[in-house]
Symmetry: C2
């Protein structure tokens, strides 16, 4: 049985020992992993920690404001870094899923490295958890926050890595979050991938396509958050399809809705969402996003699918 | 109230009057429209009619054999034309939906024109029905069998057009089919588009992609024909997505399942298929077609979607 209280105590000692008199930067996306890491490190070393929210332009509606507000309310020193233009720039012309992930990761660490250098900071704290390590080792996907596993030397970006949650699975991370007194809206937060909406735009990632999937995501969340599933989101296809808008034939976008149950993200089941909910989602998305003509619902479990499309 | 008996009687007179001593060719795809047309014309002029089945390589599993057998059992003179290679050739490099439709249509009429010329035939009988005419006029899609509507002069292909069903909607076509004594497996047949599986392969149409969607279609039909819906089929996306096969991350194909209720194809509702059926379809498709990692279910009505994707 995992003992969250004991884990926190031991982690505080360990973090203080490793960091010493140095300063730490923590890249906080607002997810349960990175927020718990940030709060844990803050508890250990106080104002020697600087939290950074990198706005990559790929976050959900209202998310940047929410994360910055949350961190400030916890009295954690926080920098908001507007890196939107730079991120969209690295996606230009890239359509391959793995190439996009790599472009994101590289840009992410470069941006973070720049902040670390400016602030003369030695360590980067990251919310890596056990599933990330396992999946990367098995070659399921290259998580952007598991540098050593994929042969990236953090030193080339100019810092050392601190990963206090790397031996925990998600349910234990949530226990640690509760132990640290984090609000439920953080501790029970749905997983959200590091590369964010870039994974949910098939093909090239552009500001226009991200805006479409962001709006679709908002609608899916409004209609299904009450179902209490593990993850619920929207994906924008690169393929287009025919539809009819205002009595005219058009060639428009396709959105897939993905809603899964899972405990650890290692396996997952497609939720059997009541059709009246799906119909409402389809009607809202095709009405509120005029360029979308078609909504699909993902009926595949993991395996053989993954939860995300990329 | 539509009187099928009277319609048949008047049509026989009219067909005989128009055709005179000439010969007629009828392109029969096996669908209710073209088969009813073929049988009606055969009843009018007997062996002056030659039925032709053009195998474009885009038909469902077992379909070419079924159509040729059906026509021969009705004692209709029938030619099987193997045009598979030629059709795949015209699809090379074409990814736009309308461009693909046009390529199909042009190849179709050229092939038919060649047969007509060989056989020294003056007229081509076609299964055009009212919905085709209306949709083409409204610009919803360019049906491949409504030449005049789209400004194509049939004479450039070398023949005149005979369209005995052009004023009927689908339910009345079925009544005519029953009046003509056609078997239920024809008269109650689900609609199937002229360009066949080429509409159900997004992006470039290749023999490999058609083979995948053909197999997926077979699985969808086996699992859902008993539901008695208006149409039930599979679509192969051009987009790919990540999945896990044999414990390894792979980048594989996506199939969408589309099942709709409709009376006339002008509007349609996505069927609320029981989840146990969808789960079985998803399991079978991802297992029996190893390159497919993900199955989606189309939850959109027409409008704003169309029934087909292209």
């Amino acid at each position: 049985m995992f003992d969250a209280k004991k884990f926190v105590e031991e982690s505080l000692t360990e973090i203080r020992r490793i960091v010493g008199d140095n300063k730490v930067i923590s890249a906080c996306s607002g997810g349960v992993d990175s927020t718990t890491t940030t709060v844990l490190v803050h508890k250990a070393i106080g104002d020697k920690l600087l939290a950074v929210f990198i706005d990559d332009g790929l976050r959900r509606e209202g998310e940047p404001e929410f994360v910055v507000r949350t961190l400030k309310n916890l009295n954690i020193r926080t920098n908001y870094v507007d890196a939107k233009a730079g991120f969209f720039n690295v996606f230009k012309g890239k359509t391959d899923a793995e190439e996009k992930r790599k472009a994101f990761r590289d840009k992410f660490y470069k941006t973070l490295g720049e902040v670390a250098k400016e602030e003369q900071i030695e360590f980067i704290a990251q919310g890596t958890i056990k599933a990330d390590v396992i999946e990367t080792v098995q070659g399921i996907k290259s998580q952007h926050n598991v540098l050593e596993q994929i042969g990236i030397d953090p030193k080339i970006y100019g810092y050392k890595i601190l990963e206090p949650l790397r031996d925990l699975f998600k349910p234990d991370v949530r226990k640690v979050a509760r132990e640290l007194g984090l609000a439920e809206e953080i501790s029970e937060r749905m997983p959200f991938p590091g590369p964010a909406l870039s994974l949910r735009v098939l093909g090239e990632v552009t500001p226009e396509k991200v805006a479409i999937v962001r709006k679709a995501t908002e609608i899916v969340e409004e209609e299904t958050n009450k179902l209490g599933t593990f993850q619920n989101f929207a994906v924008l296809h690169n393929d287009k399809a025919t539809g009819i808008k205002n009595g005219k034939r058009v060639y428009g976008h396709i959105i897939t809705v993905r809603i899964v149950d899972s405990t650890d993200a290692v396996t997952a089941k497609a939720r059997q969402v009541p059709y009246e909910v799906l119909t409402k989602i389809s009607e809202r998305i095709t009405k509120e996003i005029p360029s979308v003509v078609r909504c699909l619902y993902d009926i595949t479990d993991k395996p053989p699918s993954t939860i995300e499309f990329e």
